[in-house]
C-alpha cells in the first residue's frame, strides 16, 4: 500500500504512533472496500445469475474510466490540503468541448489530446491563482468558478460532440484485452501516480503540505508553489479525463460533468483520503472506484432506475465521510 503518514497538525504524535494510527487506514480500508465490493457482486450474482457476465464487466469498467481519472486529480488536491476541487465538472467539459471543436476542424489527434490536457491545466492554474492571491478557501473558490465557468460555456455552446467517423471516436469505442480502451489509461495513471507520489521529493512535499502546512513551511517548502503545482497537475489530469470523455460519449451539454462530482468525491474519501489532508492512498482508488462503479450496474439488475443510483451514491458519501470524521477524531485522541 502507498499509505502515507505525516504527523497530524496540532498533535504531537510520535512517529510510531502516527504509523500505528495510519496502519488500519491503509490495509483496513482496503479490506473493507474490497469486502464491500465482493459482497455486492455476490449478492447481485445470486439475485440474477446473468449479472456475472462480460457485459457487466464492460459496463463497470466503462464507468470506472472517467471517474477513476477524476478521482486521482481530486485525491491530489485533497492529500495536499486543498480540501476539494468542486470545479472539476467545468474543467472536464471545457476540455471535452474544445477537443470536439478542434477535431471538427481536422486538427491532428495528437495535438487535440495535448490541447485538451492543457485546457484542464490552465483551468486548474486559474483556480490556484484565485486561491493563492486572494487567500480564499479552495472549496468556495471552486464552487464559484464552477458556477461561472458553466454559465460562460452555456453562452458559447449548447451541445458538442466529437466527430463519430474520426479515429479518435473509434478509439473511445474500442476494446483492448476484452476491456474498453479508455479503461487502460485510468489504471496506468493510478499505478504511476500512486507509485511516484510517496517516492519522489515533490510528491512528498505535497503530502507534507497537506499534513501540516506550517511544519512544511519551516522546512522551506513554498505553500504557494505547491498550490499552483497541485491545482495545475490536477487540472491537467481533469483535462485528460475530458479527452477520454469526448472520445467515448455522444452529444454533451455544458452541464454533463455534474454527474461525476459525487462518485469522484465519494471514491476519494472511501480510499482513505482525509479531507483534512496529508493522508490517503492513490492505489486504493482503484478499489473504491471499482466498488462505486459497480453500484449503478447492480441497481439496474435489481430493477431500480438511475434515480436510485443518486440515492445510494448520496448515502454512501454520508457514511464514508462519517467514518472519515470518526477516524480523524480517534486519531486526535
Amino acid at each position: 500500500m502507498t499509505d502515507v503518514a505525516t504527523t497530524t497538525p496540532e498533535t504531537t504524535l510520535s512517529r510510531g504512533a502516527a504509523f500505528r494510527a495510519n496502519l488500519p487506514a491503509g490495509w483496513g480500508t482496503a479490506a473493507v472496500v474490497a469486502g464491500a465490493w465482493v459482497l455486492l457482486i455476490i449478492v447481485s450474482g445470486i439475485h440474477r445469475a446473468d449479472f456475472l457476465s462480460h457485459q457487466t464487466v464492460l459496463a463497470i469498467s466503462f464507468t470506472m474510466a472517467i471517474v477513476g481519472v477524476l478521482a486521482v486529480a481530486q485525491a491530489l488536491v485533497g492529500i495536499s490540503g486543498g480540501i476539494l476541487d468542486l470545479s472539476q465538472p467545468t474543467g472536464l467539459i471545457m476540455s471535452a468541448a474544445i477537443v470536439a471543436w478542434l477535431l471538427e476542424r481536422n486538427v491532428p489527434t495528437a495535438v487535440v489530446v495535448v490541447a485538451g490536457i492543457l485546457v484542464g491545466a490552465v483551468w486548474g492554474f486559474a483556480n490556484a491563482t484565485i486561491v493563492v492571491v486572494a487567500k480564499l478557501n479552495p472549496i468556495i473558490v471552486t464552487l464559484a468558478t464552477n458556477f461561472i465557468g458553466g454559465a460562460v460555456m452555456f453562452l458559447v455552446y449548447q451541445n458538442a460532440q466529437a466527430p463519430l467517423n474520426s479515429s479518435f471516436s473509434a478509439f473511445g469505442r474500442g476494446y483492448f484485452l476484452g476491456l474498453p480502451n479508455i479503461w487502460w489509461p485510468m489504471v496506468i495513471l493510478i499505478l504511476v501516480v500512486g507509485y511516484f507520489l510517496p517516492r519522489t521529493r515533490y510528491g512528498r512535499h505535497m503530502i507534507a503540505v497537506g499534513g501540516n502546512r506550517f511544519a512544511a513551511q519551516t522546512r522551506g517548502i513554498s505553500l504557494k508553489k505547491t498550490r499552483f503545482a497541485v491545482f495545475s497537475i490536477a487540472g491537467a489530469i481533469t483535462g485528460g479525463a475530458g479527452v477520454l470523455f469526448a472520445c467515448s460519449n455522444g452529444p454533451f451539454a455544458p452541464t454533463a460533468g455534474a454527474t461525476f462530482q459525487l462518485p469522484v468525491i465519494a471514491s476519494v474519501i472511501l480510499a482513505g483520503c482525509s479531507l483534512a489532508g496529508g493522508r490517503g492512498s492513490i492505489w486504493l482508488i482503484l478499489l473504491s472506484v471499482g466498488f462505486l462503479s459497480t453500484v449503478p450496474t447492480s441497481l439496474v439488475f435489481f430493477g431500480l432506475n438511475s434515480n436510485w443510483q443518486q440515492v445510494f451514491q448520496g448515502m454512501i458519501l454520508i457514511v464514508a465521510v462519517s467514518i472519515d470524521g470518526w477516524r480523524a477524531r480517534r486519531l486526535l485522541k
Partner: protein, 332 residues
C-alpha cells in the same frame, strides 16, 4: 458585531452593538442594495419600482427569505447545510403527492415537515455525532434527496396539486407587497431578535465562533449544532410546502440550486459558510433582496438566464473576499 464569546464575557459591550451594526456587514450590504436599485432604475426606468414589479420581486424572494431565516442558525453555529435545496424539493413533492392521494392539506403538511426533520436528523448525526465534514456530508444528502424527489415525482416529473384556498392565501397581497413576503420579513425580524437579544442566540454565536471556548463555558456544542441543523431542515420543509401553494404543483426540479442562491446571498449579507459566529438575519434579508433585484433586472432586460449563475458566482467570490477582509480566516 461583537463575537459571541466576548459578548458572553463582557456584556457591557452591548451598548456598542448599534455602532457595530452601522459599520459592519449590514451597512455594506445596504449600500449594495442601493446600488442595485440605482442600476435597476437606470437600466429599466421607473417601472423597476412600480407596484407590479415590487409584487413580482416580493413573491420571488419571500420563500428563499423564509428558508434563510432558519438556515441562518446552522450557518451561525458553524454547520452549513448544503442539502436545503433538495430538502425543499422533497417537502414540496411529498406534500403534493399526498394531496393527490386525497389527503387534506392540514395532514399532508406535517408529514412533509417530518420527512425533512428526519433528513435533518441524519445530517446532524453524521456531522455532529460522527464528526463528518459538513460540506461533504450534506452534499451527499443533497444528491440522495434529489434522487428520492425524482422517484416521488414519477416519470412525468411533475405533480399538479392545486388547492384554491392555499393558492389564494399564498398570493394574497397587502398593497404591492405579498402577505407571504411580510410573513418572511417577520420571521427574519424574529430571528434577528433571537440572535442579537437572547441568551440562546448568544450561545449559537459562541458555538460557531469558537466551539472549544463555548464548551468550556458550559454550552452544549453538540446540542446547539444538532438543533441548528434540525431548524435548517424545518425551514426548507416549510419553504417546500409554501411552493406547492405558490405554484399549484411540485416538480422534480423544485429547489434545485436554491442552496447556492440562498447561501451566496447570505454570504453577501455577512454570513460565512466556512466559519460560524458571524452574520445577522437582517444582512441575509438584504443580501437576498440584492440577488433578487439583480435577477429581476436580468429577467426584465431579457438577458440570458445563464448569466444569473455567472453573476451569483462572481458575487460569491466578492462576498468571501469581503468576509476575509472583514477579519475572516485567510486560507494559508
Amino acid at each position: 458585531m461583537t463575537t459571541g464569546t466576548s459578548s458572553l464575557i463582557v456584556s457591557g459591550l452591548d451598548r456598542h452593538r448599534l455602532r457595530d451594526i452601522a459599520t459592519g456587514s449590514v451597512t455594506s450590504i445596504a449600500v449594495a442594495l442601493v446600488i442595485v436599485v440605482v442600476v435597476g432604475l437606470s437600466a429599466i426606468g421607473p417601472d423597476f419600482l412600480s407596484a407590479s414589479n415590487i409584487t413580482i420581486i416580493g413573491s420571488f424572494v419571500a420563500i428563499p427569505m423564509l428558508v434563510a431565516a432558519f438556515a441562518g442558525f446552522a450557518l451561525l453555529a458553524g454547520v452549513v447545510d448544503l442539502s436545503i435545496g433538495s430538502m425543499l424539493g422533497l417537502s414540496s413533492n411529498v406534500c403534493a403527492w399526498l394531496m393527490v392521494a386525497g389527503w387534506p392539506l392540514w395532514a399532508a403538511i406535517p408529514v412533509a415537515l417530518v420527512a425533512c426533520l428526519i433528513c435533518g436528523a441524519i445530517n446532524a448525526t453524521a456531522v455532529v455525532i460522527f464528526g463528518a465534514d459538513t460540506i461533504a456530508a450534506t452534499l451527499g444528502m443533497l444528491v440522495a434527496l434529489r434522487g428520492i424527489t425524482f422517484i416521488i415525482s414519477g416519470s412525468v416529473g411533475m405533480i399538479p396539486a392545486f388547492d384554491p384556498n392555499f393558492f389564494a392565501f399564498i398570493n394574497l397581497t397587502a398593497g404591492p407587497l405579498p402577505v407571504i413576503f411580510l410573513i418572511s420579513l417577520a420571521l427574519i425580524a424574529l430571528a434577528a431578535i433571537i440572535v442579537m437579544r437572547t441568551r440562546i442566540g448568544r450561545h449559537v454565536q459562541a458555538v460557531g465562533g469558537d466551539d472549544r471556548a463555548a464548551s468550556r463555558a458550559g454550552i452544549s456544542v453538540t446540542g446547539v449544532r444538532f438543533v441548528a441543523l434540525l431548524l435548517s431542515a424545518l425551514g426548507a420543509g416549510i419553504g417546500g410546502v409554501l411552493y406547492v401553494g405558490q405554484l399549484g404543483s411540485a416538480s422534480n426540479y423544485t429547489g434545485t440550486g436554491l442552496e447556492f442562491q440562498v447561501y451566496a446571498a447570505m454570504m453577501i449579507g455577512g454570513y460565512s459558510i466556512l466559519r460560524g459566529g458571524v452574520g445577522n438575519p437582517l444582512g441575509a434579508a438584504l443580501g437576498l433582496l440584492v440577488v433578487a433585484g439583480t435577477s429581476n433586472i436580468i429577467d426584465v432586460k431579457a438577458i440570458s438566464p445563464y448569466l444569473t449563475n455567472a453573476i451569483i458566482g462572481l458575487l460569491l467570490l466578492a462576498a468571501v473576499l469581503l468576509d476575509r477582509l472583514r477579519g475572516g480566516d485567510a486560507f494559508e
